[in-house]
């Protein structure tokens, strides 16, 4: 019979205690156990980047981690950014510059870019392209995503 393991995970500042199977993917745990549906699953083999989350502040693919490995760690998902009424500056730039179409890959891009812009507040175009090179978008051709990152970087560094 399936064996369950107790885990304690902090997600978006809230502490969750749950019993999970060893094989449960972190992406499935976030989506189906915690109901945080903003993290999307596009390939489940770590290439597309749609499921990117922050794991102790670092952008990682939640489909390549088991939920048990998140025990004692701090996770941030797209739900921790802005709300529809009050978008995060990066989200605002994404809509201002039309950097999303179907929106499925977008949470992964945002979670890749949040730590990137914290580390590199004034990136060059090449640096932006390198930063998002692990995220696939089939709709936009990336052009407007790059524009949006420039825009967000400018606005966020002005605020500081």
């Amino acid at each position: 019979m399936k064996k369950l393991f107790p885990i304690t995970v902090t997600v978006n500042g809230k502490v969750y205690e749950r019993q999970v199977e060893a094989r449960l993917l972190l992406s499935d745990f976030l989506r189906h156990d915690l109901g945080l549906l903003g993290t999307h699953v596009g390939c489940e083999h770590g290439i597309c980047g749609a499921c990117t989350i922050l794991f102790d502040g670092e952008a990682v693919r939640s489909c390549l981690i088991f939920a048990v490995q998140a025990n004692g760690h701090e996770i941030r998902t797209v739900e921790s950014l802005g709300t529809p009424e009050n978008l995060h500056p990066l989200q605002q730039s994404f809509t201002d510059k039309h950097a999303l179409q179907c929106g499925f890959c977008t949470p992964g891009f945002l979670m890749t870019l949040v730590p990137f812009l914290e580390e590199n507040p004034t990136p060059t175009e090449d640096e932006i392209r390198e930063a998002i090179d692990g995220n696939i978008c089939r709709c936009t051709g990336y052009e407007k995503i790059v524009e949006a990152v420039h825009d967000a970087a400018e606005k966020m560094s002005q605020k500081k």
């Binding site: 809509t95 179409q101 499925f104 936009t140």
Partner: protein, 784 residues
Amino acid sequence: MTGKYFGNPIKRLEDKQLLTGNAKYIDDIEVPGQLHAAFLRSDFAHARILKIDVSEALKRPGVVAVYTAEDFGDFWKPGPLQVPPPTAIPGSKFNARTLVPIAKDKIRYSGEVLAVVIAESRYIAEDAFDDIIVDVESLPAVVDLEKAWEDSSVLVHDDLPSNMAALVTQEVGNYEEAKKKADVVVARRMLIEHVAGAAMENRGFLASWDDQNQVMTIWANTQSPLTVRGSVSRALGLAESQVHVITPAIGGGFGPKVMTSLTDDVLLPWISKQLKRPIKWVEDRRENFLATTSERDQVHHCEIALKKDGTILGFKDVFYHNTGAYDSYGMTVPLNTQTHIISNYRVPNFYTQIRMVFTNQMVVTPVRGAGRSEGVFAMERMLDFAAKEMGLSPIEIRRKNLLRADELPLATGITGQDFVKNTLDSGDYLGNFEKCLQAIEYDKFIKETQPKAQKEGKRLGIGVVAFTEGTAVGPYEGCKVTVSTSGKVTMTTGYSSQGQAHYTVFAQIIADQLNVKVEDVKVITGDTNHFAWGAGTFASRGATLVGTAALLASQKVRAKIFSTASKALGVPEDQVELGEGSVSIKGKPDSAIPLGTLAAMANPMRGVIEPGVEPGLEATAYYGPPHGSTGCGAMGVILSIDEETCKPVLEKMVIVDDCGTMINPLIVDGQLQGGISMGIGNTLYERLVYDENGQLLTASFMDYLMPLATDMPKKLEIIHNHAESSLKLNPLGIKGVGEAGAIPPGPAIVQAIEDAFADKGVEILETNLSPSSIYGYLKKVEHK
């Protein structure tokens, strides 16, 4: 026509929910009591099923049911033809062998479903695969298109005399006569490789039978909710009103999500009805590669006949088109290829033959570009080969033959995917091409940039091609526009949406007509209980067909606003002024009645209404064009390539596009850029590779390379060149633009690679060019 909103770069209304993780996609839908389905798929591409033993799987805790084909009894049958056969084309032959929902007796492609497991969780359902014993007799796989066509081939469908799925020949003029008069005839065989739609969201389906009300509710990320509704109701013997199909947020379509009559939409409603439980299935990426439809994959045998000055006298193209194991989606793709081969140039004599062939591969249906890419590639390449043979520049030969604006509209005589004779309605093809040459600085490149680079030991190449994009075909689409008593406006349509900004662009059209704020127009798409008529999302037709229907419906509502206001205000209609969100007597702002109040007046609760008056500020309209509208343009590319690594770097790309009047230029640019990335991917990275056993070797994103941010051109310039003549076919002067970007990158990039190696005489005869295949071409000429 420009309005307060129409024609302007309005920011999308749908973004905020998508950006914050609040939008619900198919896998985000949960229904209480739902069970999970997983499909056991065949590892064999071609085999006879001897026995499938599921008895152990049924013993596994958490497994609720397991089904094989036999368990469905009489319900099992081959599905309908989703697109009718091309009977409109005289002499056409078409053998319908439609998709079966689950393999019975015979397996015809790797990935075909053998068993459906229903369990408490997806994890358990997949565990149960290990318990199922499948005993088959393996058969040789039919993979190579040309060999498959031969009478000696192994058969995909045993009851047919050959693997011929269809044979369609069309001719205008007389090619053989033209050839006799030609100074030069050039012939080539070219491959156009197999690619995936690869939307970031896979497919998914949730069926929930309500036994009390006898209603089937379905959530599906389909491009064709009304087709799903029709096929489910037919299969289960229900009225269409008993089937409610809802499309949630959809993570990209690109064509393959139009396909229905697959395992999920046929069997899961039946199973839900049997078990009286909601059943959910979400495809994984491997399944998407193996079993969701894909496209391209043609072999062309082309011949072009010319006068010595480069004038085209005739073109002949006999091409093999892979339809996969079944042909439920008819001939949309190869017919698009036929129309697009001669859609740019003056070709007085044209012979084209489709040899559509069954293989042991997944079914082929449209993917962004959808046959157009193939046709344009074949023609553009042949012009390049002819130019070289005759010592002409690729520019000269195109200038000589490109259609001029005053030659349009032009009936080409070739019947297209819509079974209507193709008409190139409008555009300045030559003008597009000239603009593109200027923007890419062609002359400067040839005279200065390239020679300078050469001296520095760098290889640069340039390619410039023309293209057309047949869009906005019929039959029709429609919508309903309603002003509610809150003053907010709703538009509902059966069309479904996968990221194309429908929620914004349709709202723009309506907001201008009704003089309301664009954010006060709520667009509801793809819900069959809201609007139940239409064909589906394909062929870049949404903006034109639904957009025009939105204009017509909102014009009717506008007329109703005036007639209702005239009565309410007690003045003739010409004294009524429609302000933002209210009506009043001209010059008397104090008389204003809010639109919402007027909507309530249009739906009186007592008294009598005049005969013929329909309640509410509401109207429905439909629009169907006489024929599709053809977008057009040109693309130029400059690339650098290292001779050792053969890795091309796209230094600059220019697209000139005419998609008629733009509803929203921000959205048009997004469509073009996205299409271009797909065209680049198709040319340099993506390829579905089947081996000789029919095994797909590229069933993951590790093997199927998608274009990334670093693969895009260093500079990408978009030029809109909207010809005045483009404004006639429909009242808004709109053409589609969804596929334009995906069409020209192939021939443009290949021409540029050849140009970079012009001194070596490299000739490229295929679409998919990895660095190693370019290296192979170089070695081939070196060894000559």
